[in-house]
Each structure stands twice: as C-alpha cells, then as structure tokens.
Amino acid sequence: MSTQSARTARTRFNFTPYLFLAPNLILFLTFMFIPIGYAFYISLTQWSLIGSPQWVGLANFVRLLGEREFWISMWNTLYYTVTTVPASMFLGLLGAILLNRRIPCKGILRGSFFAPAVTSLVTAGLIWQWIFSTEYGIINYLLTLVGMQPQPWLTSNALAMPSVIVATLWIRSGYCMVIYLAGLQGIPREYYEAAEIDGAGKLSQFKYITWPLLGSTTTFLLVICVIYGFMAFDLLYVMTGGGPGFSTTVMVHYIYQQAFSVGEMGYATAAAVILFLLIFSLTMFHLREDRSK
C-alpha cells in the first residue's frame, strides 16, 4: 500500500482509489456489464450450448411474439403484479397509519408483521402449500366449518394464482408497512396539530397532509414492488411449479424453462431482454418523476 502523505497524494497520480475499487469493478464488469451486453448478443442467435451460436437476427423475437405460451406467461406476470402491488401497498399503508401512534408493544407488532418478509420464499411457499392443501389444508377445514365446499386451491386453473397472491400479500405487506412507517415518521407532528386547530377531520388530514407527503415513499414502493412482481419466481415455483398447465407460469419461469429444460439459450435470452427493457423503462419513468419533484 502507498504511504504518501496527504499533500503528495493530491498532486501525484494516485493508484490507491483504483486499487480499492478493483474487486468491485472486476466483479461488476464480469457478472453485470458483460452479461448485459452478452444477453443482447445471445438473443440474436440460435444456441443450445452445443456448438457455437448461430446468428439469426431478430428471429427469436419474432418467434416470441407469435408464441402463445410467451403471451400467457406475460399475462400471468401482469395479473400477479397488478393484483399484489396495490393490495400489499394498501395493507402496508393501513398498518403503518394504525401503528404510528402510542400503542403498547409496538416493536413486537412491527416485528410480527415484518417477519414474513425475511423468511425465504421457498419456506413461505412450503408453508402456504401446506395451508392450501386440498385434502388436509387448514383453509379447507375452516371452509367446511362454515358449511362451504373444500376447494382445490393449488390444483385448479382458476384458484392457483389467487392462492399465490394471498401468500404474496402475507410476505409483502409487512415490508410495505415498515417503509411507510419510516415515511410517516418523517412528517412533522405540527402539521396535524395545525390542521386540527383548523377543524380538519381525520379524512381530510389524510388527504391533504399524509398522502401528499408520502408521495415519494409511494413512488419508491410502487417501483420496487412492480419490479418484485415482474421478477417473481421462487414462490410460484415452489407452490405450483407454474401449473396447473401454464396457469401460473410467469415470465422468469418461462425464461428458466426455455433455457434450462428446453435448452434454447438464444430464445430464452430474447425473452429476458424483453423483461429487461420493461423493467428498465419503468425505472427510467421513476427517475424522471423523481427529478421533476
């Protein structure tokens, strides 16, 4: 390591910062930047890992757009995202508002709601698969208690996705709550006191103080949760395996299948490139919104 004094460090070319950054730069280059560029290249080839990639131009993309299964996986991803994101954010906001007051054992409550978020998705998937089990699941038992018919939760086309959505809300709501709670604590108490003096009710306090001041928290959560939604895989893989049929196959699962079961690296990567562009444009939109504030 260099032992230059502070003065000479400024005047002479200093290797130290580059040396300190080297491990990160090498890793980012090898496993992030090169793979991104590489992905675009592979997506334009036909390649099953045997032999060398054959250049096919945009053929993979053309094929994707005509493939029914691709559109189903896209639709499932949207279905999953559009339902889980608003619901988990709503539950999170509700929990945060209720929790943001003098309540005994607040820490334990917060910890309880947050616990599912640190549980691995595989574990969560196993627990919920057991809960939703058709024959011995606790949910079906509760249904029979109130005189309803047991349902084939994870083995029916119509109910599999809603079941996974319920499990997702269990995982994600507490996370949204903790982030919203942090946002709420940043709002000065005086705002509410002033509003109360002016005779504003709880509802208009929420409408004119809480909601606008939580704006950036909401945008942040929206982007993060939508990305989570687009990236969903583990939970679905464990709970339903993408089935029955294709009813819960999402985009990442489709990419995984095409690459590692079918062995079509080029075709699978083309789907990944589409996913990448979707997420990229979404984040760009977020950044533009952020800057305009």
Binding site: M1, S2, T3, S5, N14, T16, P17, F20, L21, P23, N24, L25, L27, F28, T30, F31, M32, I34, P35, I36, Y38, L49, L98, L99, R101, R102, I103, L109, R110, S112, F113, A115, P116, V118, S120, L121, V122, T123, A124, L126, W130, I131, S133, Y136, Y141, W170, G174, V178, I179, A182, F233, D234, Y237, I255, Y256, A259, F260, A268, A272, I279
Partner: protein, 275 residues
C-alpha cells in the same frame, strides 16, 4: 375527549393484535405441524398443539435427505459471501466518499445504475460465463457472481460521507498507510453500517433460490433452499418433516436479525432491502 381517544387507541391495538396473530399463524402452523407424528398429522378436526410432540422429527429430517450437508453448504456460501461482500462494499464506499479521482462520478453512476438490473434478467448469460469458468456445482460459482451489489456499496458511501475528513488527514500525517487508515480508523467507526450490511447480505444469500437452482445439479452441493424444494418434488410429501426442516431453515436468519436488530429498521428504510 381524552378518554375517548384512549378507548379508540385501545380498539386499534386490539385490531392490530388480531392482525398480528393472523400474520403469525402460518409460522405457528409450521411449528405445530413440525411436531406432529404421522397419526396427529391428518386428524380432523386438526390438532393445534400436538398432544404427543415428536421432537425426533427434527432429527429424522437429516435422514430423509442429506440436510446436514445442505445446511453446511448454505452456511459456507452465506458466511463467505458476507465477509467478501461487506468488505469490498465498505472499501469501495470509503473510496467513493473520501477520494477524488478521475472517473469517480461515471463509475459511481454506472454502479448505481446496476440496481435497475435484477439478477434474473441476466441469469442466462451468467450461467454461460460460470460454466465457461468451470464453476458449475461449486462454492465459487455460488458466491462470486453475486458478491458485488450496488445497494450495499451505495449505502456504505452515504454512511462514510459523514465521517470527518480530519480523522483521515491526521492519520496520514502520522504516516499511516492508506489501507491501515481504512482498517484501523474507518472500520471501527462503521459498526452500525457493518451490522446492517452483514444482516442483509446473509439473508439474501441464505434465501437465494433461482441461482443455486440453475448452477447446481450435484446433490452434494445443494443449499438448504434447494434441498427443501427438491423434497416437495418427490411423490409423497411428509408434511411434518418438511415443516420441521422449514423451521430449521428460518432459524439462522432469525438469529442474525435478533443479533443486529438495533440497526435493522434503519437498514430497511435506507436500502429498501432489495435482493
């Protein structure tokens, strides 16, 4: 007015406790199932607290599949990842915060931009790179591609920005080497940051699923998550054993969170806890 407010808070507390119980129920059900014997498992009405708890289920888990090996693999991967990732993130964060050098802004921007690229999107190219390196079915293959991540690096930089420059200047005048300044003066001032980084890195790596799923085919290299999902693929699922191993798999993450819980709320809110 005051008593009215008190009773309102009371009802809100009741509501929150009910919600918390509902949230915790799946965990309770996991624990309860884990302790059931074959007979109590399928009883109707279901048994909530097993009358004859089968503690031996936890031992039996290690005989249905080599879970001892899986736990060791996960511990090695998560443990080494924490050491490597936390160290290089602190070093890079410090460099971006306290050095002025050519390309600083561009490099930082490029690294921060990688937060927009979820790993799942580049998993296929990474798989190809790893197999070219001969790292399939290896600890290296599990650890190295995920070692650099931008959230921890950025968090470190933000934290180190607040460390006074005078501290570093004084050490330089004393003639300490740059690396000694980092390890001897900077790191001892970063304990909360290190706690947050270690907690999250451990959790992310311990819970990793899709990457191990892709690059591991040899059973003896399986992680805990992979071992569990593999069990369910078998034709007959022994739910009590599955819940027992699920319970065991949660304990390390829980232990780390309890260890560092002072820092963790702060950590979640600043990192957004991205995986």
């Amino acid at each position: 007015m005051n008593s009215n407010k008190h009773s309102k808070n009371f009802w809100i507390a009741v509501l929150l406790w009910l919600a918390a119980l509902v949230t915790l129920f799946p965990f309770f059900w996991m624990g309860s199932t884990a302790l059931k014997g074959a007979r109590e498992l399928f009883l109707r009405p279901p048994v909530f607290v097993p009358h004859y708890p089968e503690w031996s289920n936890f031992a039996k888990v290690f005989t249905v599949a080599p879970f001892g090996r899986y736990f060791m693999n996960s511990a090695i991967v998560a443990g080494l990842s924490v050491i490597l990732t936390v160290f290089i993130n602190l070093l890079a964060g410090y460099t971006f915060a306290k050095y002025r050098f050519k390309g600083r802004k561009v490099l930082l921007l490029m690294i921060v931009a990688t937060m927009m690229v979820p790993f799942q999107v580049i998993m296929v190219p990474n798989f190809i790179i790893i197999s070219a390196l001969g790292w399939l079915n290896s600890y290296l293959g599990l650890i190295i591609p995920r070692a650099a991540e931008a959230f921890g690096l950025f968090l470190s930089k933000q934290f180190m920005d607040d460390i006074p420059d005078e501290l570093i200047e004084a050490a330089r005048i004393d003639g300490q080497s740059e690396f000694r300044i980092f390890t001897g003066i900077i790191l001892p001032n970063c304990r909360p940051l290190i706690g947050v980084l270690a907690t999250f890195t451990f959790m992310w790596r311990w819970n990793d699923f899709i990457w191990p799923l892709i690059i591991l085919s040899k059973k003896e290299m399986f992680t805990v998550q992979l071992g569990m999902s593999n069990l369910i693929g078998q034709f007959y699922v022994e739910w009590n054993l599955l819940m027992a191993v699920a319970l065991l798999s949660v304990l390390p993450v829980l232990a780390i969170f309890l260890m560092f819980q002072r820092f963790f709320v702060q950590g979640i809110t600043t990192t957004g806890m991205k995986g």
